[in-house]
Amino acid sequence: MNWNFVTDHYLVRLPISETDSGALFNLLRQQAVCDHIPRTALAIESQATDELRRIALRFETREAAFWLIENEGTGELLARIGIQNINWMMLNAQLQWELSPACDLQVLQEVVPAILEFVFAELRLHRVEMRLRAGNTEHAEYLTALGFEAEGTLPAQFEFNSEDIALDIYSLISDKKF
């Protein structure tokens, strides 16, 4: 199974622990990139190295898979997009993304369908959902444009900066029949 693929303009590939920590750190050090999750931005580069090791372990146990999205021409890292909490019994998973300012809807509309095609056709999952900090309209609009449907809001899922965080849920259901 090939986990790396190319779209018209972008390279969608699994990260390499030894070489990607600098670029990943530059992406995840930006608080605005993590606000929709929400999560605190990275502060030092070794956190990105640790994150890459964790991703590798989670990938080996088939619990998660994260891809780096690069501009094929320039090599610029535009986003990290992944699925996690893969439930192989229920055939569902949670999508998560961190998008650089250069990653807009046009990029997502080229890259996300390719990832979802892989998730539905190759991994044979049935449902992919994303949980967003409630009220994040920018990411909600991205999801809606990509065909996701809003399903509701889960209250008080955790605390972040002394606030109870509610999460909006959006999902996409596979139309594939196996």
Partner: protein, 199 residues
Amino acid sequence: MKFTPELEFTGGRVKPLHYDDIDALFELYQHPEIPGQRPLTDKEHLNRMVDYSVQMAATQRGMMWAIEVDGQIQGMVSGFDWQPSHLRIMMRVDALPALTDEHRASALQVCLEFLQNKYHVRNFGYQWIEGQKESIKYCISTLGFECAAILRGAWRTGDTEFADVHQYHFISDKAKPVPKRLGDGDSPGQNLNSNGGNA
């Protein structure tokens, strides 16, 4: 050591799972109320479940009670996916058809109260799976649960069949615990026998 208390409610009680109850629990698992769940065939699995129920409670991963009405086990209340640092847990009741909705609600209620008072859990989830008894939704709404989201096709009922999950939440209005200096007044493992069982 004891981590799961016996709790009385009008008409019955909930109590920790015990090896003596294996036959009654096996009967309960012959009538799964969750769509797609098959009747249990190997009684030995229930011995392991009793072991797990103690281990889960001791490590704050979950808690399981048998529901006893008129001296007969008619169901179970389970708390699972317990996130102690997020003060959150998912609840579930599995019951024989004989268990009334009133007893179902009362049994769940005393467990919610215990988890609020003893462990400061604030956020209780409950997943109603499409195909379960409709009256369960009303039953849990009387305890303060509100439907927060309908998760499409989130429950697999067969090889290629899926059911919607109606996810309910009840948020306790009790105050959050105030962090103390670490080590002051803690009771590792929450053993009810060693600290007076302040259930």
